[in-house]
Amino acid sequence: MHSFGNLVWNEWLKMFKKRSFFLPYVLLAGMVLFMAFMLYKFSGGSSTGYEFAQLAVTTKGMGQMLTLLAIVVTAGAVAKEHSMGTVKLLLIRAQSRTKILASKYVAILIYILTLAAFMFVVSVLTGQITFGMESGTVAIGDVLREAINNLVYTIVYVTLTFMVGILTKSTGPAIGIGMFMVIMESMAVQLLARYSWSKYLLFTNVDLSMYSGGGSSPIPGMSLTFSIIVLAVYLLLFLTAGFVTFKKRDVA
């Protein structure tokens, strides 16, 4: 267990020591502030602080930006080791490949968690300062739920990107495919919504915020539990494909 902690710490340092480490934080904070400024300026500050925060963290709002940034960070995790050639020295240590890959995944999850937490705090603070503390229809719990929904959304796409990065060994396709999926998602949902089998697709289930407004599910037979199960199955699939490939791969 101690040694696994060391591995995760190693992976964390590999991200942290890069100059680009803080860039996603800066971008997210910048965008939240910019949106607050625009809203304040042009809509006359009609919304409350928590309403703004919810808008900022939700997937349909700016949460998707977090997903895209996370995809960029994730894509390089395994692919860069291959392209830099460092994978050769990494895999001849007294550690199993499964453990090494798991440590990478865990480090990425921690990174995303810090990003999401950071965005949550910045959004709430900005909302409170710009639009005032009075409570409207939205409470802090609602903001938190949207942030968690967006975290799930991000983890699903990040896991997909992680897998593509392992399979293709290169950063470009991993970023490309990851982002393509995110962008294609809403279109695919609209186009395929009339087929009942589309409820088993990743796209239709990935955004859990559709259940939060108490609105009806997009396709009959879908519920929060159903979506969570479908997502879990997809995650397992991605991770299995990634781990099996990584374990069996000949590093030439």
Partner: protein
């Protein structure tokens, strides 16, 4: 020490060249040949003494090594890609404290073999045991005895050398910070260790590569083309490190390379493979039996006169005379060399150079592998 070493080497050569006309007993070596231990010990007084001592360390008699415990066993290792056997039933052992060269023409399967040994590539058949642990079934236990540099060592360029070593230190049990500083000192990187690897020269990266390979006190070092891209001074430095490590710490070393002269200077044994199969296994620079005939060339001012003199002597076979170049090639026992030189002096033949001709590893290699055809 290595900078000085190469200077000494140059100094030696110059000294030999200038004093050659009078130093009739100076036996210089042709550049590519391995040192002849016997010759050197009998010529302690000559200018190449220092060089000779340097060469001695490379001549670890393989008989000693064979008595040492086996560190690495390669058993019938086969790698099949498609229908082709890249490596085909390859077996060899490596003993404690010896430096073994893995030789072969391009495409012979050297790199594949090395990568199978360190577990980067899965073997189709056969197994590799490191100190009794199978790399296939007990990877973690087996790999902990291996230190490796696979091609040019690649590090995280945005981290310092120290941070890179810390990465590997965290991955190996029982390696302390003190040990990091120990290996850093051993490879002479103390001054640069806190600089970013991005700013390192290839030579420095190689040194850092050796440092990471030695970090966890391995029993065997496995190096794939370790001198690739290094300049002559870097190559010499690398060779000195490796020899020192093998001698002082008893670490076995397996090196793959196609630089034959390099291997000749470094290794005590070579394993030659071609098309994935073992061609031959040879010890290099073993003790030479006294009665053995050696081939020697003399460069003199009057080859015709020298030839006449030689014809009058017994037990000396004249192999060739090049009158114009003033070169006479003879075959004789070592004991007869002083007598021959004496006779030549008496005949007023001026001797500029006496060289021993040994068939170099390169020639033998081409013999074994049947020329330089690309597989």
């Amino acid at each position: 020490m290595n900078g000085n070493g190469s200077k000494e080497l140059t100094a030696d050569n110059t000294a030999m060249g200038s004093s050659a006309s009078q130093a009739v007993n100076a036996i210089s070596k042709s550049g590519t040949t391995n040192a002849h231990p016997h010759l050197h010990s009998s010529n302690k007084s000559n200018a190449s003494d220092d060089l000779g001592d340097g060469m001695h360390s490379s001549v670890i008699p393989s008989t000693n090594a064979q008595n040492s415990p086996v560190v690495l066993t390669v058993q019938q290792v086969t790698k099949t890609i498609g229908k082709k056997n890249i490596v085909d039933g390859l077996s060899f052992d490596i003993y404690r404290g010896e430096i073994v060269g893995l030789l072969g023409p391009n495409g012979a399967g050297k790199t594949t073999t090395i990568r199978m040994i360190v577990g980067l590539i899965e073997m189709t058949q056969g197994d590799v045991h490191v100190k009794g642990h199978s790399i296939k079934r007990d990877f973690v236990q087996a790999i902990r005895h291996i230190g490796g540099i696979i091609e040019n060592p690649e590090f995280y360029p945005y981290m310092s050398g120290y941070d890179n070593l810390r990465q590997y230190q965290r991955m190996s049990e029982g390696v302390t910070i003190t040990r990091i500083m120990e290996v850093v000192k051993l490879v002479g990187l103390q001054d640069a260790i806190h600089k970013k690897v991005r700013a390192y020269s290839l030579g420095m990266r190689q040194r850092l590569g050796i440092a990471q390979a030695l970090l966890h006190n391995p029993s065997i070092l496995i190096l794939d083309e370790p001198t690739n891209g290094l300049d002559p001074a870097g190559i010499r430095e690398m060779r000195d490190y490796l020899k020192q490590i093998a001698k002082d710490e008893g670490i076995a070393i397996l090196v793959s390379s196609h630089l034959l002269s390099e291997m000749e200077l470094m290794c005590s044994r070579v394993v030659v493979i071609q098309e994935g199969k073992l061609v031959t296994e040879r010890s290099i620079g073993g003790p030479v039996v006294d009665e053995e005939l050696t081939t020697v060339t003399f460069r003199v001012n009057d080859a015709a006169m020298a030839e006449q003199t030689i014809r009058h002597m017994k037990d000396i076979t004249l192999l060739a005379t090049q009158i114009e170049e003033g070169i006479v090639t003879v075959q004789l026992t070592e004991e007869d060399i002083p007598a021959l030189i004496q006779s030549l002096c008496d005949a007023r033949v001026r001797i500029y150079r006496v060289e021993e001709i040994k068939s170099s590893l390169e020639e033998e290699f081409l013999k074994w592998t049947g020329g330089n055809r690309i597989a």
